[in-house]
């Protein structure tokens, strides 16, 4: 498999809506060993001024990786998922993600750089509500290892 050199600049429009549920926030919080009550208790979240449960700072990865799957699963991109290593990750929150949010993510391939026999691919997911309110921007770099790496 070879990475399509014309991948840089490619975009994938927002796909399916991700509906943020309270139990998904609680499950994700438990999974990252987060104990803050604002992830579990609506009253505790309200005491901090939030309308519903607050998602942990890296919760948006669920939405971002669903968007990434469009690229990784695209046969024309030429990415072998079994050779993918996560190199870096960033979350910029425009506002907190709360239970009840209806989110969509548009994916942009910001850069593709050859690295040895493989490639470093940087993608950006622009996450917003279905009404168009910007929620988070996530940036992710993956290293696709070459056959001899």
């Amino acid at each position: 498999m070879t990475i399509d050199p014309n991948l840089q600049g490619r975009s994938y429009p927002a796909g399916e809506t991700y509906s943020v549920g309270r139990e998904a926030i609680r499950d994700f919080a438990r999974a990252v060993k987060a104990t803050h009550p604002a992830h579990y208790d609506v009253d505790a979240a309200a005491a901090l001024g939030h309308a519903d449960l607050v998602a942990p700072p890296t919760f948006a990865i669920i939405v971002a990786q669903r968007a990434d799957a469009q690229l990784i699963g695209d046969p024309s991109a030429g990415i072998d998922f079994t050779r993918v290593v996560h190199a870096d990750q960033r979350f910029v929150h425009h506002r907190p993600i709360l239970a009840g949010d209806q989110l969509v993510a548009a994916l942009h391939v910001d850069s593709v750089r050859a690295m040895g026999g493989g490639a470093m691919i940087t993608t950006r997911a622009e996450i917003s509500t279905v009404d168009g309110e910007p929620t988070a921007t996530t940036t992710s770099s993956i290293l696709v290892r070459g056959e001899d790496q």
Binding site: A38, P56, F81, H86, V92
Partner: protein
């Protein structure tokens, strides 16, 4: 919130945390996140792709490490920017036969790296180690403070 920007100083320690994890934690993270890559739960598969063993999701380590910041600042919504590079994998040993025994231990410490009084934000720099190695590099969380 208990932290105020007016009393913060660059270089100030925000504390430390120890995260003990088992392979069950990786299965839980796989389910919660939707990242079902077998390198995080299948020994034979992990070794087959050249890894020393089952490794933690980088996103597990990133997600767990930021709790030190969240607990310090008092509101998870205060974390407006969080980034890291993944350098070394966290290898998680199979301790299924030794209940209560961790398969890996991650140590997190945090220090105030920068303060922006105009934006009312502070950057916390995290040091995240496991088995004597830095597993996250340039792990930085920006928090908005009152």
């Amino acid at each position: 919130m208990t932290v105020s920007i007016s009393t913060l100083e660059v270089g100030q320690q925000i504390g430390s945390a120890i995260i003990a994890l088992t392979r069950q934690d990786l299965v839980r993270y796989a389910g919660a996140s939707g990242d079902l890559n077998p390198i995080h739960w299948n020994q034979a598969f992990a070794e087959g792709v050249g890894l020393p063993g089952v490794i933690a999701h980088g996103m597990f380590t990133m997600g767990a490490a930021v709790q030190l910041v969240t607990d310090w600042v008092g509101d998870p919504a205060a974390v407006v920017d969080y980034q890291t590079r993944f350098t070394k994998p966290v290898v998680v040993e199979d301790t299924t036969a030794q209940p209560g025994e961790p398969g890996a231990v991650v140590e997190v410490t945090g220090v105030v790296g920068a303060i922006d009084t105009e934006k009312s934000t502070a950057r916390v720099d995290l040091t995240v180690m496991s088995a004597g190695q830095k597993v996250l590099v340039k792990a930085q969380a920006v928090v908005r403070l009152p």
